[in-house]
């Protein structure tokens, strides 16, 4: 490009192309404000990590490390057996995934492969309504229905509140997440894979099981991992339905507690929110464990989701 002549025949000068100074200033200010808003999210996560580490370290340095191997988690009595809530979390999560995995996947396969558009339009909102029910309501449902009508009928000797009851309810809460991620993954499988399968004479069931599901497997695994992460982080259901027993559970029929419910228990009672004691700081220690678990799972799930995107 040649430079514009100061006295070009059109009368156009270089400054005329620079735009109005007011508009340029607005543009710069807006850019700055938007960058600030985006940076806030980074600040929030830095704050989360910093807060968790600071108080978790405060807690760890205030106790003898051997105390973490205790059989019982009851910070108010100076018992810091962290394996009790961790084992409780593992049991609840296992039950929840056994409930939400197959049911969520089955529902997703039906919605994506079998349901006619009209059926899909009327069934999908039902799953979405389940997703919008507050978890504390599901917790109430667990103690008033799942425990007496389901679990105690099958296992008459079980206590009213136990890890199995909590796990089933958490699973129920996790189904919509599993279903929506799995359905997205299945629908992302290109139509020509299915057509090729039908063209070779395969039945619908063969096509679904041998062609569509394997092609979507990354997304399905991602859905499963996200469900696990969601189940680990669920608080209210477990707080209400697991029993809050501070000992190490040996089976899902035991009453127990989880990492999340133990955190909530530390904070219940108005006197404790005052706390700078190491009882209160133990919640941050548990929070750090919880954060580490869920962050790892979310990062892994993210990998799987992106693998699906790259493939198709």
């Amino acid at each position: 490009m040649s430079t514009v002549e100061p006295h070009s025949p059109t009368g156009l000068r270089l400054e005329d192309l620079a735009g109005s100074p007011t508009r340029n200033r607005t543009e710069r200010l807006v850019h700055l404000a938007l960058t600030g808003a985006a940076a806030t999210s980074v600040l929030i996560s830095v704050a989360i990590v910093a807060v968790l580490f600071r108080d978790a370290m405060g807690f760890v340095t205030s106790i003898r490390l051997g105390d973490l191997g205790d059989e019982i988690w009851n910070p108010r009595l100076g018992r810091f057996g962290v394996m009790s809530p961790i084992l409780g979390t593992l049991w609840v999560t296992l039950v929840a995934v056994l409930v939400a995995g197959p049911i969520g996947l089955g529902a997703a396969i039906y919605l994506s492969e079998y349901a006619k558009p009209r059926v899909r339009r009327s069934v999908k909102p039902v799953v979405e309504v389940l997703a919008s029910i507050p978890s504390v309501v599901v917790g109430y449902f667990a103690i008033r229905f799942i425990a007496p009508e389901l679990v105690q009928r099958i296992f008459p000797g079980a206590p009213a509140k136990n890890l199995l009851v909590a796990g089933i309810a958490v699973g129920l809460l996790t189904i919509p997440l599993m279903t929506s991620v799995a359905e997205d993954a299945l629908r992302a499988v290109p139509l020509n894979l299915r057509e090729a399968s039908y063209g070779l004479g395969a039945k619908k069931v063969t096509t679904v099981i041998r062609v569509v599901v394997p092609a979507a497997v990354s997304g399905l695994v991602a859905g499963l991992i996200l469900s696990i992460s969601r189940a680990i982080g669920e608080t209210m259901v477990v707080f209400l339905a697991a029993g809050g027993v501070p000992t190490r559970p040996t089976s899902p029929l035991d009453g127990g507690t989880t990492v999340t419910a133990a955190m909530a228990a530390v904070a219940t009672g108005t006197d404790n929110v005052a706390g700078a004691s190491n009882t209160f700081q133990s919640a941050f220690f548990l929070g750090l464990i919880l954060f580490a678990f869920t962050l790892t799972l979310n990062l892994v799930a993210d990998r799987f989701v992106r693998r699906v995107r790259q493939k198709y």
Binding site: V42, P134, R144, V205, A283, L295
Partner: protein
């Protein structure tokens, strides 16, 4: 003539291809899939049925307004959810006022302004992962920032303002993610038209991109809002009250407070014989608020979609 009736030919060919076996494996598989959906449906019905009856009885014997307008009481027949409703609705307003503008601004930055550099990549990664952080961890963050920490002078400690700010942080990633999706769905030709007539980036965003993405952005915010309001876990760390306290009226941002999910949590753990009706009634109020907010979101979305 060797011409065979065409209908007959079709039947014969179909029988040859399909064989005479019926597809039993396929039928079993389909039945299994349907039963998965049936389980979800039955669970939902059981949930509603087990939650509603005693609550409706409280409404009919005391009147809905009596239950809605009375504060906490030690006697179940006198106890109401007024303070909880105030807390939940007020924190909804705070969350909407903070997380919508902040979230939309961050989404506009990511979709319209950012180039693919290290800062953008970090923001993207951070937002995706913040969305997966358990709600109770946000409770710890809110406690350390707003109840005890650097902002406690502003918020006054265990108050509604702290709760609103904490829930805003909880909802922010959801708003950013859904808003970014809505912005991405605006066709590029629209932007190019704007730039073609000499508009600046902000002018294009303000007059073309945002109005077209408004429906999706509102839906995202409202879904996030519904999630935040049903969430009780962070409230443990915000010092939400579960026993009788004075105050909790409209506009009291810096006093004692409670919220609907916290009331449910507390009443659900009291002796069922006395408190079951109240617990169910509180659940019905909460469901009405949460589903009501969802409905507002859908109405708003439809209105914006129609304008397009």
């Amino acid at each position: 003539m060797a011409l065979v009736d065409s209908e007959l030919t079709k039947d014969i060919v179909r029988a040859r291809i399909e064989g005479n076996r019926s597809d039993s494996a396929g039928a079993v598989f389909k039945a299994a899939l349907v039963s998965c959906l049936v389980i979800v449906l039955v669970a939902l019905v059981a949930l509603i049925v087990s939650v509603a009856p005693a609550g409706l009885e409280v409404f009919s014997s005391r009147g809905i307004m009596d239950f809605l307008l009375r504060p906490f009481s030690v006697r179940p027949e006198k106890a109401g959810v007024f303070q909880g409703t105030v807390g939940t609705v007020t924190s909804a307003v705070i969350v909407a006022l903070i997380s919508f503008p902040m979230g939309v601004a961050a989404a506009v930055y990511l979709e319209e302004y950012a180039s693919d550099n290290w800062f953008t990549r970090i923001v993207n990664l951070v937002i995706r992962n913040l969305a997966g952080v358990p709600a109770i961890v946000y409770g710890l963050l809110g406690f350390a920032l707003f109840v005890k920490g650097p902002f406690s002078g502003l918020t006054g400690g265990t108050t509604l303002l702290s709760t609103g700010l904490t829930l805003s942080i909880l909802v922010l990633p959801i708003v950013v993610i859904t808003s970014a999706e809505a912005i991405r769905a605006v066709p590029a030709s629209l932007r190019e038209g704007g730039y073609g007539v000499g508009a600046t980036r902000w002018e294009v965003t303000r007059t073309l991109v945002l109005p077209n993405a408004m429906g999706g952005m509102l839906t995202g915010t409202i879904l996030g809002l519904a999630r935040a309001l049903g969430e009780a876990a962070p409230l443990f760390f915000m010092g939400a009250k579960t026993s009788v306290f004075s105050g909790g009226n409209w506009g009291e941002l810096r006093g004692d407070f409670t919220a609907l999910p916290m009331i449910i949590t507390d009443w659900a753990t009291r002796p069922a014989a006395k408190w079951n009706g109240n617990t169910q009634a509180a659940i019905l109020v909460t469901l009405a608020v949460v589903l009501g907010i969802n409905t507002v979101g859908i109405v708003l979305r439809n209105r914006f979609d129609r304008k397009k």
